[in-house]
Symmetry: C2
Subunit: 189 residues, 2 copies
C-alpha cells in the first residue's frame, strides 16, 4: 500500500479521509449501565448517540497499525457517565496508545487476573494500555471527550467478556463529582 | 507491565515521564547532507543540535508499542533543510504513524523497489508509513517542527541503508522555497 496523509481535526475529532465510521447508540449497550430502567427510558425517548469512532482501516495484518479517533458525548445514564463498550484485544498481547485531544475523561483498565486501574485523561495525556489489559473510556466532563488512538491492526476486539462481566468499578456521580464505585452488577454474578 | 500515563507537551514536544532521550547533532550525520564543506564548517563552529527524540521505552516485544515525539530544529546545512537520519525498520513489515503537532515539515518516503513519496506535514496531519517504506522527516518551516509517533516495539531500526544511499530526493531551498531535487550524491554511487 501507499503512504497516506489523513487530516485530524483536533476540535471535532474527525479523520479525513476515513473508511470506517462507527456510531454507538445507547441501544447498542443495553445492560452495560447499572440502571436498566434509565437505560430503557432513554432508548425510548431518543436512543442517544453515545460515541462515534473514526478509524482508517488498513489490512488487518501483523505490522500494520490502525489510526482511530473517538468522540464520546457528555451525559449520564442514571448517575453513570457515558462510556465506551470496552474490550480486550482478541490477540490479548496487543497494546494500544491513546492521546487525549479535547475534554476530560477517565480510562478504566483491568486484567483477567483481577488488577484494576483508572487513569484520568485530558488534552496532552498519552495513556499506554499494555498487553492483556481490557480498556474503556468514560467521559467525566461537560463537553465532548475526544481522543486519538493507535493500535496493531492484527489486534482484533473481544467485546464479549466485558459485556458479560463489566469492569470491576464504574464511574458514577456522587455529590456532584465523578466517583469510582464498585460495580454492583459484577457482585451479583 | 502496568498501564501508564505520559504527559505530552504539545508546544515543546517533551514527554514526561520519559526513559529514552536521544539528541542528534550534525556530527552524528556526517556525509548525509549534500554539502560536505558546509557540514564540516558548521560542526567546527557549534556542531548544532538538529533534533531530539523523546521515547518511552517498553519491552521490545511483538504486540507492544513505542510512543515517541521528535523536536526537529529549523535551519539548513548549505541550502538543505535540517532532517532526521531516516531509516527502514529492521523488521521491514512494521508500519509507523506520525501526527504533526507544531511547525511545518515534509515526510520523505521510499521503498527499495524505487518508489518515492513526499507528504507535507503540519499540525493535525496524520501520516501513515506502511510496511517496507523508509522514512525521514524534514523541517521546511521557520520554527521547531514537532511530531508525535507510534510504532511497533519490535520494529527495530535500520539506519545503515539510508546512510549509504540517501533518499532519491532531498529538500533544498530554491528561490526561497523548499524544493524537492534529485539527490546528486545518489547519482554518483
Amino acid at each position: 500500500m501507499s503512504p497516506l496523509a489523513i487530516t485530524l481535526d483536533f476540535q471535532r475529532g474527525v479523520l479525513k479521509p476515513c473508511n470506517n465510521v462507527i456510531q454507538r447508540h445507547l441501544s447498542d449497550m443495553r445492560g452495560m449501565y447499572l440502571d436498566d430502567t434509565a437505560t430503557e427510558e432513554a432508548i425510548g425517548q431518543s436512543d442517544p448517540l453515545l460515541y462515534e469512532v473514526y478509524q482508517y482501516d488498513v489490512p488487518f495484518e501483523t505490522g500494520q497499525l490502525l489510526v482511530v479517533t473517538t468522540v464520546l458525548q457528555p451525559g449520564k445514564v442514571g448517575d453513570e457517565y457515558y462510556m465506551t463498550k470496552g474490550h480486550f484485544h482478541e490477540k490479548e498481547d496487543r497494546a494500544e496508545v491513546y492521546l487525549g485531544l479535547q475534554g476530560q475523561g477517565c480510562l478504566l483498565l483491568e486484567t483477567t487476573g483481577g488488577e484494576f486501574k483508572a487513569l484520568p485523561v485530558e488534552p496532552g495525556i498519552v495513556t499506554y494500555i499494555p498487553p492483556y489489559w481490557a480498556h474503556r473510556m468514560v467521559n467525566t466532563g461537560q463537553g465532548e471527550f475526544i481522543f486519538f488512538g493507535v493500535y496493531p491492526a492484527d489486534a482484533g476486539h473481544n467485546y464479549g467478556d466485558i459485556e458479560k462481566t463489566g469492569f470491576a468499578k464504574v464511574l458514577a456521580e456522587r455529590n456532584g463529582q465523578p466517583t469510582l464505585i464498585p460495580n454492583p452488577k459484577r457482585q451479583k454474578r
